[in-house]
Amino acid sequence: MSGADLVVQGWGWLRLAFGLFVFLLPGVAAADRWLVGVPRRWLWGPVLSFTVLPLTAILLNYGAGVPVTPAMTWLITLGLAVLIAKPRLVASSRFLVERWPRIREALR
């Protein structure tokens, strides 16, 4: 078995890249929201992802018996990312809704 056999598993590199992207989402969202004033704050995204994901999983497992399965991990990761980035998502959607008539006009 070579090193390459060990690396490329499941859906291969695409899954690795997409999984890594999703894994970083809650951490980057947390850095964006909580680390105001910290220079290059997005660099702390991986630490924050590795912080909030296991803590949430442990709390849910102990509190509600939620299992640590791949499906639940994906759900927790995306849910946390949305929850933490909520103010920015709301602001972005407001921005788009307010400008939608102008955007639609421009697209015509």
């Binding site: 078995m1 070579s2 090193g3 390459a4 056999d5 060990l6 690396v7 598993q9 499941g10 859906w11 899954r15 690795l16 999984g19 890594l20 999703v22 894994f23 947390a30 929201r33 909580w34 680390l35 105001v36 004033g37 910290v38 220079p39 290059r40 660099l43 702390w44 991986p46 630490v47 924050l48 590795f50 912080t51 909030v52 994901l53 296991p54 803590l55 999983a57 442990i58 497992n61 102990y62 299992p67 640590v68 399965t69 791949p70 991990t73 994906w74 927790i76 990761t77």
Partner: protein, 512 residues
Amino acid sequence: MKAPARTVRQATFPWQGLGLLVVLPFLVVAHSLPHLPGARAETPFDVVHGMASRGKAYLLGNDVPYPVHVDEHFHIARFAQIERTGDVRIDDPYTGEPEAGSLFSVSGMRSERGWQVAMVQFHQLTGVSFPTMAHFLPALWAGYLGLCMWALLRPAPGALAAAAFTVILPTTLRFLGVGFLVPSAFALPWILAVIAVCAWGRGGGRLVALASLITGGFFMHLVPGTVALVAGLVTAVLRPGTWLQRAGLVGAILLPLVWIAPAIAADAEAAVASEHDLPFVATVFLGAGTIVLLLAVAGAAWAFLRPGPESVAPRVFLVLALLACVSLAWSIAADHRNEATYSRLVPAFFLCLAGLAGTGVGMGLALLRRIPVRPALAVPVAACGIVVAGLLSGAALLPPLQLHFVEPYYRVFDDRAWAAATAFEASEAGPDDVFLSHPWRAPVLNALTGAKPWTALLPGGPPERGGDFEFYVASGGADAAWFKERGITYVVVPLEPNAPHVEVAVGVYRIL
């Protein structure tokens, strides 16, 4: 009108980004050394030549693709148990017995369950196998640690040098080290993150971040979590600001103790009082090298002579290094072989040294920057300064790099052993079976199948029932009564058993 002279600072600006492109891959290759076979480095030339040849081997994939450290095997067995059961509260994968103590206790936190859950989640999201994570993640994380150091110190001079100096963290010191997938090394960025948030953060969000990071740090590993808490308190005191702001930070840092302290209070004293059998390695302090220590002293002097926002992190490093030194020295003087007061503090101590030594290099460059030079000479002088700083840093890094090269590693699996392990995984072996294998390979074989190992090496002690494995080999395969007495149903050893059996694959036998 005469144009103002360009300062060296302006002339050196582009070197920062280019420097990161050199420093981060250097850190990755240096901390990949456990996976890179090669001769020992005896002279400085051997170190330079060895790094180059091993870096080439790493890029070409001619390294060891298997987990190499006994702690990695131990944790992989637990990752697999969490993955298999989907539960954080796992039974001991070797015996099937419930783990001793609640997760919310010192003994529970010492099981490093938060880190194990984090690794399982990373595996579930990315699809990367546990052995592959053990192969690549430590080195990549070492590069990330350097990046964190740079991001933390960046406004201060020497941030790039400090990032490079994180290579002085030993790869192993009594079963610990950055080059391995183990939580005590993995949790080091939490210390830097807490300092960064305390020093630079604004608004209420930083309090949420601090409470999360401290709690997360404790669940990653108890000792780096404690160091992160102390680092946060020291930063809150040393950072510029009003006392009200400081009180808010201290409150946020101590808040996690509301849910952590009651859980650990009962057995905290016992944990600090407990001792292990492993000897002290006092010489490890010299592993950083004389130049690094001198640079660290210079950096510490600069930090305290130039108080300001830029020098907050170096001053925190100095206080932490002194506190760690006191604890380490006391442990050695009192012959107190404890993980909390000695073993696990060493990486944090070296992290502080790296930050201070980098600041020392930056101090020299800052002095150089003050020299006004003619416009025509600005670039050559800047280039000379960078070259001198690079040579000084290179000379400083040779002794710790040499230490990386001479460390004994534990390459437990080779291609043949891994083929047997894969065949064992594909067999019908399951949690109801008991297998005999080399004690060092047992944890990964357990992770692959869930079968219970008869002999296994647990970190920090001799193998469990190691004598039985030695007897099996010495007797040329034992006999049927011997297997029946122990309930062994599989043998994963390249030696045929002297009992009725079926050969599942080369080196894998099912006892009938």
